[in-house]
């Protein structure tokens, strides 16, 4: 029933929205002020697409009736990931995990390698995993994805329950979810993330009832339920398949890249005036012939391991010839010296260089080819060992700081199915201060944009159109920071300068705009079934600097390899007084809005502005200020006090 009415409202939203935006583009633009008129209509179009994607999401709202009986012999590993969290908290979670009823092994994945935690694990009979010796200092660690990938190599349960260090699971979490895996195509069951240290007013917008509700249920309907990193159960087979496919793909890509680079490197080495010896030229000819042959073999689909092995053998032989020539020349020089009888050349006559010395001098690290660094580098890259990673098989995607989203998308692209189980089965701890919350939101947004830029869902092979749009919808919402700036600028410009981005505020405008706005709000109300969505709406606008920063840093990271400035979200409250500096851009914008409202009213009174335009824009300013007012409460929030407000566990 909910679904029917939701669909009705979605249709109405799309119709009224298109009606409004078409009129805006075709008949309402004030071209004299195109510099604000165009950005505003683009921002409005952005928002309409956002709402339409939301409508599409909830269109297929899937309300599941619970999982069937799980197979009692399913083996499960419960992973608790930690890096630097408080040991008491980690242990509390681990002991709760130990009490989960379905048979399982509980492991603490300690990326901080803390001896105290190891001792606690031994004391309580918990499994303890740290990074293996393969993760040397010079290799990328891939944060949580790396931690999980490492643990996957030393455990063997069919299914994995992944929990963040603060997520205390219910004893029945597996009984309620494992049954979904009776369907052999299901690779993921995600349950909500709910926080027990958040007051009902939720000043930091920690609970995400719209996401862990209609949005995930809608994505589930499109077989695109997201993996959110914690409180989720995964099928090991699917993860391993992902790792293997990824390994093969990465290897072929890097070999093709190396072969392409080899041509340029050899050409460069030939040109360089340093290389005049015919011997060197001979080696270069041999290397070139070997790489050319390898290219043909790769194109013909020959196994990569054989191809790279042959290249290496051929190059090694060429290098050995070179070393032998060097040694032969040296030996000839020694003979000549001896023949001169001018001085001793050693007690036992001319020393002879042994064959194994020649071999040693030909090995990779001492090879004369090392002098041609670019050629050597290219040859080093011609390997199937994936020596730039700690382990060749990386089941969890490492292309993004939100490894969960990237991993699930790859699973979906390989045809696996996912489930969103709408029942709180674990209770976590949300950030209790604005700074930590902002760090967390920034990280989520950065990770999402990284995935968009590295593996754009719209062009990924294997995904269905619905799945593409479900992933894209979430990425699209993170672009809202740019639209927000325009939404703030437009009323300020009108109230201060009297410049209106629309040609006139007339009946034409209201008759199109108001129905759209009303139906739009109705959509959230119907789809949300009474859950509080206002806090989420406030933060999606008020955190505009965070969203913009996420887009710019992620783009710089993906395109120019610059660091993200990534930080682990601290689980403990950050000390110190109210930190207004965290919201400086928002304070500046709010002051500008308020000043603009006052100036606008003065202009109205003095007859410089017209009543309708002023009224609409002042109302707009008031709305913006009400939205931003949440930040004042967020800055002043002193953390959760359980005595004052008991946790209502029923609320979601």
């Amino acid at each position: 029933m909910t679904r029917f009415w939701t669909q009705v409202v979605v249709v109405l939203t799309v119709l009224t929205g298109l009606n409004y935006i078409a009129w805006r583009w075709m008949a309402s633009l004030n071209w004299e002020a195109w510099w604000i008129a165009l950005p505003l209509v683009v921002a409005e179009t952005y928002s309409l697409i956002d709402v339409m994607l939301f409508g599409m999401t909830v269109w297929k709202l899937k309300i599941r009736k619970g999982a069937p009986q799980p197979p009692h012999d399913a083996t499960v590993d419960v992973f608790i990931t930690t890096y630097n969290e408080d040991l008491d908290m980690v242990l509390t979670t681990a002991l709760a995990a130990q009490r989960i009823r379905h048979p399982h092994s509980t492991w603490i994945l300690d990326d901080g390698a803390r001896p105290e935690l190891k001792a606690l694990c031994e004391q309580h009979g918990l499994g303890y995993v740290t990074r293996s010796g393969d993760w040397t200092k010079d290799l990328p660690r891939h944060a949580k994805a790396g931690n999980l990938n490492n643990a996957l190599m030393v455990t063997h349960g069919e299914f994995l329950l992944i929990l963040d260090a603060d997520q205390i699971p219910e004893p029945d979490i597996l009984e309620k979810t494992l049954g979904y895996f009776n369907n052999r195509r299901v690779a993921l069951v995600q349950t909500p993330q709910y926080f027990s240290n958040v007051p009902a007013s939720d000043p930091l917008g920690s609970q995400a009832p719209l996401f862990y509700g209609p949005i995930q249920q809608g994505k589930d309907g499109w077989n695109a339920a997201f993996f959110c990193g914690s409180n989720a159960i995964l099928r090991r087979e699917a993860l391993m398949q992902l790792g293997l496919v990824g390994y093969v793909k990465e290897t072929e890509k890097s070999i093709r890249r190396a072969l392409a680079a080899s041509r340029a490197a050899i050409k460069q080495a030939r040109k360089s005036a340093d290389v005049e010896s015919p011997l060197v030229a001979g080696v270069l000819d041999e290397v070139e012939a070997a790489t050319r042959e390898a290219q043909e073999e790769v194109d013909a689909g020959r196994p990569l391991s054989e191809v790279t092995y042959r290249v290496r053998r051929r190059v090694d032989a060429a290098v050995q010839t070179l070393v032998e020539a060097d040694i032969a020349a040296l030996q000839a020089d020694l003979e000549e010296i001896a023949a001169m009888e001018l001085a001793h050349v050693g007690e036992a006559g001319v020393p002879v260089v042994a064959d194994d010395a020649v071999r040693r001098m030909s090995a990779r690290d001492w090879s004369p080819l090392g002098a041609l660094e670019s050629v050597q580098a290219v040859l080093d890259a011609l390997t199937v060992e994936r020596s730039n990673e700690a382990q060749p098989v990386m089941p969890l995607a490492t292309i993004s700081v939100t490894e969960d989203m990237a991993t699930a998308m790859r699973m979906h692209a390989m045809g696996w199915e996912s489930v969103y189980h709408h029942e709180i089965l674990a209770y976590g701890l949300a950030p209790e201060d604005l700074k930590t919350m902002l760090t967390q939101r920034l990280r989520w947004a950065q990770g999402t944009i990284q995935v968009l830029l590295r593996e754009n869902p719209l062009v990924q092979k294997g995904l269905k159109m619905g799945q593409r749009l479900m992933y894209f919808a979430t990425m699209w919402t993170y672009l809202s920071g740019f639209a927000a700036v325009i939404y703030f600028a437009a009323p300020i410009i009108y109230l201060l300068l009297g410049i209106l981005p629309v040609s006139s505020l007339s009946w034409d405008f209201f008759v199109r705009f108001i129905p759209f706005m009303v139906v739009n709000q109705l959509l959230f109300a119907v789809a949300g079934r009474g859950i509080p969505t206002w806090r989420g709406q406030q933060y999606s606008l008020a955190l505009f600097p965070t969203w913009i920063k996420a887009c710019t840093t992620a783009a710089r990271n993906v395109w120019f390899g610059r660091p993200l400035g990534f930080a682990v979200t601290p689980k403990a409250r950050q000390s110190g007084g109210p930190s207004w500096s965290l919201i400086r851009p928002q304070i500046v914008v709010s002051i500008l809005l308020a000043v603009a409202a006052v100036v606008g009213i003065i202009r109205l009174v003095t007859g410089l502005a017209e009543p309708l335009g002023t009224l609409v824009n002042v109302a707009w300013v008031v709305f913006d200020l009400v939205v931003m007012s949440i930040l004042v409460r967020a800055v002043l929030y002193k953390g959760y006090e359980p005595a004052a407000e008991p946790v209502n566990r029923e609320e979601s």
Binding site: V323, I327, A329, L330, D333, I337, V345, P351
Partner: protein, 110 residues
């Protein structure tokens, strides 16, 4: 790789800084040949800053030794670094080219 030399009382000291490899070896030969042509036939190659040597580098050193002997002098090496030392030992060239701790000591007894 950078080469420099300095004429001392009884010998000329050649410094070879960097990696003595396939690319730089021919340059060392040329450089030492020029030093010998300039009138010094007692040469000390100071390898203090030579971190690496491959077979071509070794060949060049022996080539320079030959040139020095042909000019009626000798070539000695000093301040050998670990990798170079390993190469010399492995190829038995340590029997031909004695390594002295410092350039000053190389010709101190003759």
């Amino acid at each position: 790789m950078e080469f420099s030399y300095e004429v001392k009382d009884s010998y000329a000291e050649v410094k070879a800084d960097g990696r003595l490899n396939m690319v730089s070896a021919p340059k060392l030969r040329e450089f030492v040949t020029d030093v010998i042509a300039g009138g010094s036939n007692r040469i000390v190659v100071n390898l203090e800053n030579t971190a690496f040597m491959d077979s071509s580098g070794l060949g060049a050193l022996i080539g320079c030794l030959k040139a020095a002997r042909q000019a009626g002098g000798d070539l000695r090496i000093a301040a050998v670094q670990p990798q170079v030392n390993m190469v010399l030992k492995l190829t038995s060239m340590d029997k031909v080219l004695t390594a002295y701790p410092t350039a000053e000591e190389a010709f101190s007894n003759d």
